[in-house]
Amino acid sequence: MSFLRRNSVLLVTGLLLLVSGSLLVANARGPRRVDPLGSVLLEVLAPLDRALGAMRGTISRVWSSYVDLVGAREEAAWLRKRLREIDQRRESTTDLERENARLQALLDLRDRIPGQGVAARVTSAETKGLFHSATLGKGSRDGILPGMAVISTDGVVGQVFQASPSAARVLLLEDPSSGIDAIDVRTRARGIVEGGPGDGCRLKYVKRGDEIHVGDELVTSGLDGTFPRGVPLGTITAIVPGERGLFQSAEVRPAVDFSKVEEVLAVATAPTDLPPETTRSRPAPGADGPPASAPTGGTAPAAATTLPPGPPPAPAARPAADPSVAAPAPAGSR
């Protein structure tokens, strides 16, 4: 009896093992389930199972919602990325269309101007420093040589002052060293457009008696032998007050935004008129003829394009001034 009490746990365990083993063997032998208490327990546990099933459903729904949320977030991220790509592609297409239009306009310009024109892309432009210049992606190998005029579809850009085989540098119109013979489209008054002391340009050496007004448009006169005639230079924005002497001056806003110009045409041409449609602003009737205010008595300034130290401009860019006139000679004098 004491043996039984001492080893009761082991005996009961063994008995339960026998029961378990019997249950296992009985159920392994046939397809029918032998489980006398199983159905009772199943019935007892049914409400609990239903409650657990409800909890299971809740957990499942919460988890599914979470997974769906994660999926929606990922999908939203993917859609945002796709939208960005489409936007970039659309921007790219728009850029290409704009570039195409610009190049087409440049091509038209080249077809209209006399002489040889070389289209080039502006690779960089320095418009904020002391000197204003730009670099072209083509050079002497492509026919761009120092002294050539550089124009865009908007107007005069400047003049080439340095060229290597594959690049060229352009002195921009608004550089203080620049000077181009100009003519007022409306009044035919002549002068020289130079780089101003600040931003923009200045029209100088206009005879005191000639009429110039704010808003007048200026074009190249073609007399300097470098620029074709009739290319827009800019618009008069202010008359410089308080000047004395033979000449008057005016502030000029350049026709070209030099920081935004992308494609240009380098032109080596004889001083020949451009067809009227070349210019963005239509000259007044009679503008195609000889300058209405052609200097009589040699009072008009000499057309000039002044270049910084370096290769001298084309000889044609320095038409001889009338030596009999004591007019300021901008060419190389500043």
């Binding site: 082991l10 365990t13 378990s20 249950l23 199983g38 299971r56």
Partner: protein, 173 residues
């Protein structure tokens, strides 16, 4: 009596969790074998006939609710109880590491019973990969939650004034 009540409730929760809820947690690859962990606890601390019956009932409940092979789990839990009971009578197993080791031993017993079932009784080809994967994962999860389950049980028993019993080996030291 309070001790029996606490352990019964713990057993019911363990069976419910193991048979139902834990299997629904999507990120859990398997359900931790909580019934086996409880059997080990009983083997360590319930050196009585009640402990053996409790272990058997745990397995039987699992068999009833989830098991396709009645007898398999109750055989396992009873065998685990007996093994741990015998060990704890001779070895000092009152620390977390030995508790985890006891659960690992219980899982080994379960693997052996499963293999015996497949190979010997059911005459099936032993699905080694499946047995290894499922039971391996269950073992890892069971061992991982052993300290937590044991701690929780001890805390509940203490809270209800039915502190855990020390094993005979621990008592004699």
């Amino acid at each position: 009596m309070r001790r029996v009540a606490v352990l019964s409730i713990a057993g019911a929760i363990a069976v419910a969790l193991e048979s139902s809820l834990a299997r629904e947690v999507p990120f859990l690859p398997a359900a931790p074998d909580l019934a086996l962990v409880l059997s080990v606890y009983l083997g360590l601390h319930e050196h009585s006939v009640g402990g053996a019956i409790g272990a058997f009932l745990l397995g039987y409940l699992i068999d009833t609710t989830t098991g396709p092979a009645p007898g398999l789990n109750c055989l396992t839990t009873t065998l685990v109880f007996g093994t741990v009971y015998l060990l704890s009578r001779r070895l000092w197993m009152e620390n977390p590491a030995s508790n985890v080791a006891a659960v690992a031993l219980g899982e080994a017993v379960k693997v052996a019973v499963a293999l015996l079932y497949f190979a010997g009784l059911h005459r099936h080809e032993v699905p080694w990969l499946r047995v290894g994967r499922v039971l391996g994962l269950e073992a890892v999860l069971a061992m991982a939650c052993t300290p937590f389950v044991f701690g929780l049980l001890d805390a509940q028993l203490s809270a209800f004034g039915a502190g855990k019993r020390r094993s005979r080996a621990a008592a004699t030291e």
